[in-house]
């Protein structure tokens, strides 16, 4: 999947997250989270899984997480990537 434009998805509500995606030369992943100390490993694993599945190799992905569960991380990242892959 090719990242063609700068987009965002998600909300800042509790149990949700905001995902910011924009084109980049390589894969950049930045994660901020209210539960970073406890769950950074799981958030990172889920993000990598989705990027692999959608074959995204070049993108800047920034995540601001408010304690979202895996399914929400997957959904929000997927929505952001789909939005980023379409012409705006």
């Amino acid at each position: 999947m090719e990242i063609r434009r700068k987009v965002q998805a998600g909300t800042m509500q509790s149990s949700d997250l905001m995902v910011f995606v924009e084109p980049a030369e390589k894969l950049i992943i930045e994660i901020e989270s209210t539960v970073i100390k406890q769950f950074e490993h799981l958030i990172r694993a889920k993000v990598s899984e989705v990027l692999d599945r959608l074959e995204v190799t070049r993108a800047a992905v920034r995540i601001t997480d408010r304690g979202a569960l895996d399914y929400a991380i997957e959904a929000r990242l997927e929505s952001a990537l789909r939005r980023a892959a379409t012409e705006g």
């Binding site: 509790s14 149990s15 209210t34 539960v35 100390k37 406890q38 769950f39 950074e40 490993h41 799981l42 408010r66 304690g67 979202a68 569960l69 895996d70």
Partner: protein, 512 residues
């Protein structure tokens, strides 16, 4: 370092004092006598009223290395502690210890004076920024967190000798008679300050509402007050008491509250003479509301409501669902109003409320108490002191006192808070030992301490979702994933003292 009975590593001494490791909730026996105050004499014509705090500090003979106290009935609206500390600094005094009944976020004002060496230790728990900075190693100030009952015990036993107590007195005369019922800083009960009035070496009443002699009614009498000072304001009335405390509207909280009330009913304590305590949190109030409905429909006449008192308990008293309220602290305006006019709404001291080392505290007569938790573990231990970032952010309050005293101690908490599971392998910090915790109620299931097989069976019979605590933990982990434990340095920044004075846990500096 030694391990206490819960396996927690405890230093042998802290801030120059030897440490007793916790062994169990009930067997440590007190020795010796109640501490007392020097005798004094005030002759006719002599006056107590001084022009300001500075003069009172001087008159009280405060010196470097001594200990002062305030009480926390003005909660986050309190302006007295900061004013006292500023005056202490202005007088050039250093190395003062604070043994207040609690420190609130508003007291972040005293941080520069800790940095400057004016204040060198906190002999009390903290809520807010001070605890965070200490946890991060950015502020050097040893902290000893005490329960409400444990603080009363420490003052009464003389373990913490308070040299000068500054008592915020919302309604006070020039001879020191006071109550908390009236005036711009009205806070209701002065229960925590009563212990200071009886046991501090010198006692200063500070008021922003000096009334003609005698102030009436008398909560703390003139015989205990050495000096009286009038200042412009004791605090911000908007932050002293809540205008209202409210039942949660959150569906998760309401579900938990419903289960908790059903547990109380199933436990068989809900009959005439029922006694009950809850906090002022939204879920606790929802439990109280459900219990009220159950009492009404079954025509039950309770004995007493206890603790920090809210308007909900006042309503239950007025409706005849309780005979009496035992009030150590008022949480809202309705409670303040009630304690000033209803003689069945009794002001009690922290000693009477929860001290384990006297001839019997009120908590020993509680049938049920509803308590919160930041975390619980598979051994039913509860943490309310440290947050998910590892910082010491909350005081213990009456948590371990009421859990130890009540026949039925129920923890209510959502199973997940912002992805963090409530049930852990081991809590970050033990506030209250699992031996005194009977039931943990979450919206996803109810865990009963294995010590109560009978209750467990009864809950199952009533179709409640009872789960083994490890099963509950696994179900929650299945949703959240398994959290990594927090990482700490070896350095101990605070002690968590159990109510009997033994050390149940420590707080360590958080790893960067």
């Amino acid at each position: 370092m030694v391990r206490n009975s819960l396996g927690r590593l405890i230093p042998e001494s802290f801030n120059g004092k030897n440490v007793i490791p916790f062994s169990d909730p009930f067997s440590l026996q007190p020795k010796g006598f109640r501490a007392s105050r020097p005798l004094t004499r005030l002759n006719p014509g002599q006056k107590k009223l001084l022009p300001g705090l500075r003069e009172a500090i001087q008159a009280a003979g405060l010196k470097d290395g001594m200990t002062i106290s305030t009480h926390h009935h003005l909660r986050n609206g309190d302006a007295l502690l900061a004013q006292v500390v500023r005056e202490i600094d202005a007088l050039g005094l250093r190395d003062i210890r604070i043994a207040s009944s609690s420190i609130h976020p508003a007291h972040a004002e005293i941080i520069p004076f800790i940095e400057k060496g004016v204040i060198s230790a906190l002999e009390c728990g903290v809520n807010g920024l001070i605890g965070e900075l200490v946890s991060r190693g950015e502020l050097s100030c040893p902290i000893t967190v005490r329960t409400h009952g444990g603080r009363a015990r420490a003052l009464i036993s003389g373990e913490i000798p308070v040299d000068v107590a500054f008592i915020a007195a919302p309604c006070c005369d020039d001879y020191g008679n006071m109550n908390g019922y009236y005036g711009p800083s009205a806070c209701g009960s002065l229960g925590y300050a009563q212990v200071d009035a009886q046991h501090a070496r010198t006692v200063v009443a500070v008021t922003d509402n000096l009334v003609p002699y005698p102030a009436s009614p008398v909560s703390i009498p003139q015989t205990m007050i050495d000096y009286v000072v009038r200042i412009d304001t004791l605090g911000d009335p908007k932050k002293i008491v809540s205008t209202t405390t409210r039942i949660t509207t959150d569906p998760v909280g309401l579900q938990i509250a419903k289960y908790a009330a059903q547990v109380i009913e199933a436990a068989g304590v809900l009959c005439d003479g029922f006694s009950f305590q809850t906090g002022s949190g939204g879920i606790s109030l929802a439990v109280a509301d459900n219990v009220r409905t159950l009492m009404r429909s079954a025509g039950i006449k309770g004995s007493f409501g206890c603790g920090g008192i809210t308007g909900y308990f006042v309503d239950m008293l007025e409706e005849g669902l309780f005979e009496t309220l035992f009030d150590v602290q008022c949480f809202d305006l309705k409670a303040v109003d009630s304690i000033g006019r209803n003689r069945h709404h009794l002001e009690i001291s922290a000693d009477m409320y929860a001290n384990p080392f006297n001839a019997g505290a009120v908590v020993n007569r509680l049938d049920a108490v509803i308590l919160g938790a930041t975390e619980v573990d598979v051994d039913f231990n509860v943490n309310v002191n440290t947050e998910s970032n590892g910082y010491l952010l909350h005081n213990t309050g009456g948590h371990s006192d009421t859990a130890a005293g009540a026949r039925l101690a129920i923890i209510v908490a959502p199973s997940i808070r912002g992805r963090l599971p409530i049930v852990r392998d081991a809590v970050t910090t033990v506030t209250t030992p699992g031996e005194t915790v009977d039931v943990i109620v979450t919206e996803r299931g109810i865990a009963v301490n294995p010590r109560h097989q009978g209750l467990r069976g009864e809950l199952l019979r009533r179709g409640l979702p009872v789960k083994d605590i490890r099963q509950l933990q696994e179900e929650i982990y299945h949703i959240t994933g398994r959290p990594r434990p927090l990482e700490f340095e070896d350095e101990v920044v605070a002690l968590i003292e159990y109510r009997d004075g033994s050390i149940i846990d420590v707080v360590r500096k958080v790893k960067k």
